[in-house]
């Protein structure tokens, strides 16, 4: 049965809550309404108001109370409705969750999974479209994942909930109901996905694209189109995990292809692409035959609402095509 990204997340939550009574959900509008996007639909009805908590409007306490609950043996799955509103939880995430195990030398831990809705291209404007993965990819102690497919959405969420570390789980709002990515998803209650490696989504030998989240879609399309146009074969790698980064798959791919382009929805400066490029320039330097390119949003504060401005901002298929032609011709 073909399952959407959103339904995959919902199923993962449901299965884990059935399996383990210590799993609970907390966030704004997650209960009665079933979430701003309907991701938690039905869970309030099944598990009740004590396990699906409609919280006060305060991202700080959503995350910090989850940390305390996790420390005390629960497995909270807090939600941030839009990553644009994650700043009130910045201390909780970076100074508490990320550092608790370290500062207590392993004696105190917080196995929580923070679900965060992110991503642009929906006309949502400056405060409903942000990416903001860098803040957390930069924080050792956090595991940061960003699934791009329904199967990963399910398997990685279930694995995250079972993982004994704080996980930030980024889900892209444009993927929620995207028909193109619907797929069969393993139904086993113990289906888990790997939380530590990239996935090669399309093998190739002439150049490597590294991307994640929604951008996997135009990247795969670009690879297809390039193949048709020029016969060149592009390897497309889905990052999947933003922290800690998989430092083997990508250099290995470059060892084969010699060319690297990173496609990210975030703006250029200090997006995840910076780290991937830096690592490649260190660990795969001898393999590189061309400059490392990045297709990224321009360095502006956030995505403007008006369509022409948003289009200028968003990385997309034409922009990836331009970069890939340049990369292959080098």
């Amino acid at each position: 049965m073909s399952v959407s990204y959103l339904d995959a997340i919902n199923a993962a939550l449901n299965e884990e809550m059935r399996r383990d009574p210590s799993v609970f959900i907390i966030g704004e509008d997650v209960g009665v309404m079933g979430g701003a996007f309907g991701v938690t639909k039905g869970l309030y009805e099944e598990f009740g108001p004590d396990r699906v908590i409609d919280s006060p409007l305060a991202e700080g306490i959503i995350v910090s109370s989850s940390i305390g609950a996790a420390m005390a043996g629960m497995r909270p799955v807090p939600e941030i409705q839009f990553v644009d509103f994650i700043t009130p939880a910045m201390d909780a995430i970076t100074q508490q969750a990320a550092k608790l195990r370290y500062r207590s030398a392993g004696a105190q831990t917080c196995p929580l999974t923070l679900r965060v809705c992110y991503g642009g291209g929906t006309g949502g404007g400056m405060y409903h479209s942000q990416t903001n993965t860098t803040w957390f990819a930069h924080e050792p102690g956090l595991i940061v994942v960003a699934p791009a497919t329904p199967t990963d959405a399910k398997g990685m969420l279930k694995a995250s909930i079972r993982q004994d570390d704080p996980v930030i789980y980024f889900e892209h709002k444009k993927l929620y109901r995207l028909p193109a990515i619907k797929e069969d998803v393993p139904e086993s209650a113990d289906f888990l996905s790997d939380l530590f490696h990239c996935a090669v989504r399309r093998p190739g030998k002439d150049a490597t694209i590294v991307t994640y989240g929604f951008m996997l879609q135009p990247s795969l399309q670009a690879a297809e189109k390039i193949a048709e146009e020029t016969g060149a074969s592009i390897e497309v790698i889905d990052l999947r995990v933003l922290n800690p980064l998989d430092h083997e798959t990508i250099p290995n791919s470059i060892a084969k292809t010699g060319r690297l382009c990173i496609v990210q929805e975030d703006h250029r400066t200090l997006g995840i692409g910076s780290e991937i490029a830096a690592t490649a320039a260190e660990l795969a330097f001898d393999c590189l035959d061309a400059p490392i390119l990045r297709v990224a949003a321009p360095d502006v504060p956030a995505i403007p609402a008006a369509e022409p401005l948003e289009q200028f901002y968003m990385p997309d298929l034409p922009k990836i095509m331009t970069a890939m032609r340049q990369l292959l011709q080098y």
Partner: protein, 363 residues
């Protein structure tokens, strides 16, 4: 009495809303003209928002819209007498404050349509309208953030020793955020010229105020900051006007901040895409019966200040103004794509973004 100033030492239970939605406060100091102005402004606000909603439903503009229909008395009572130099710090639901403060309708509809003639040239969401010439802060979406910026404006006004005030609006949901607390605490410590207006419409998106805070009256929270907290029937325009003006006058004369809780209700969903299934039809009906505009109409009728012709006249002339503003906005262009790179810094960055320079080796 629908209102009662709560001094920190002795907060009391909130006054109940008037029965049958009739305004239940009288104030002989309010002139007939002012009462009529309040009413006509409320009517216009509603016409304006219903128009915006219709256009939204027709998909004539993109993005989202958060109507304050049902809450007009709060915005009008608080905003109607502000001076241009006074600052308004609006929330997502306070689009009409722009109108009340005097922003031309052409500009407001340009904002909805995201045209170059909008104050932000199409950057922010439709409902997030600010206007520098009239000191209306362009809101972020971040709940409560406008209160904190507004508090800083009040600090500047105090430093400059002028008598400008700041009116900062938000919903009851905002009171749960740390930002809200830091703003009010700071305003208390420094006795800033600011009025915080909490529009308690019982719901923050789908979340009941019962899950937002344990207290029945948000105004009680002022107790912890050492300045007055007042609960007022937010559907009673006269009461709202009186309480707001008292607080504004106090702020203007150096008497410090006030927290006003206006109990009210939004008739429609959180935004135009929200069917608001989380609340009962009875609740909605109950509150619609307390329509602030109808109540004000009855109040004016009782004072012999109202006639059906006058009302019709407001409708007709304002609808024409709206027609013209919509027509204007629809004719304006959107920004050029490249303008995405503008207004980032005080200096231009187009060159930097467009022209990345590659170096050649020097042997």
């Amino acid at each position: 009495m629908a209102t009662k100033v709560k001094e920190p030492a002795a907060p009391a239970a909130a006054p109940k809303s008037a029965a049958n939605g009739r305004p239940n406060s009288e104030n002989p100091l309010i002139s007939d003209d002012k009462l009529k102005q309040i009413y006509s402004t409320m009517v216009k606000c509603r016409l304006l928002e219903e128009r915006a909603r219709t256009l939204k439903k027709q998909a004539r503009f993109k993005g989202n819209y958060y109507a304050a229909v049902g809450q007009e008395a709060v915005a009008v009572g608080a905003g109607i007498d502000l001076r241009p130099e006074d600052t308004v710090a609006p929330s997502h639901r306070d689009f009409i404050l722009n109108f009340i403060k005097g922003v031309p309708l052409e500009i407001m509809f340009s904002q909805l349509y995201g045209r170059v003639t909008s104050p932000d040239k199409g950057r922010s969401s439709p409902a997030h309208c600010g206007y520098a010439p009239l000191n209306i802060i362009t809101p972020a979406s971040t709940i409560a953030a406008q209160l904190n910026i507004g508090t800083g404006v009040a600090l500047a006004n105090q430093m400059k020793k002028n008598d400008n005030v700041v009116v900062a609006l938000s919903g009851e949901g905002s009171t749960s955020l740390g930002f809200w607390h830091e703003a009010l605490n700071f305003a208390g410590v420094r006795n800033l010229p600011i009025v915080y207006i909490c529009q308690n419409n019982l719901w923050a998106e789908s979340v009941s105020v019962k899950l937002q805070t344990r207290v029945d009256d948000i105004s009680l929270k002022a107790t912890g900051y050492g300045f007055p907290g007042i609960t007022v029937d937010g559907n009673d325009a006269v009461a709202m006007y009186r309480v707001a003006q008292e607080a504004i006058a106090r702020a203007r004369s150096g008497g410090g901040p006030t927290l006003i809780e206006a109990k009210t209700y939004r008739w429609y969903g959180h935004s135009e895409i929200d069917p608001a299934k989380y609340r009962s039809a009875e609740e909605v009906e109950e509150w619609k019966a307390k329509d602030p505009n109808a109540a004000m109409e009855r109040y004016l009728t009782g004072k012999k200040l109202f006639s059906a012709e006058w009302k019709q006249q407001i409708f007709d002339s304002f609808n024409k103004e709206l027609d013209a503003a919509v027509e204007y906005a629809e004719k304006q262009p959107q920004a050029q794509p490249i303008e995405c790179l503008d207004h980032l810094y005080s200096f231009d960055v187009r060159g930097r973004e467009l022209d990345r320079k590659t170096c050649t080796p020097q042997y």
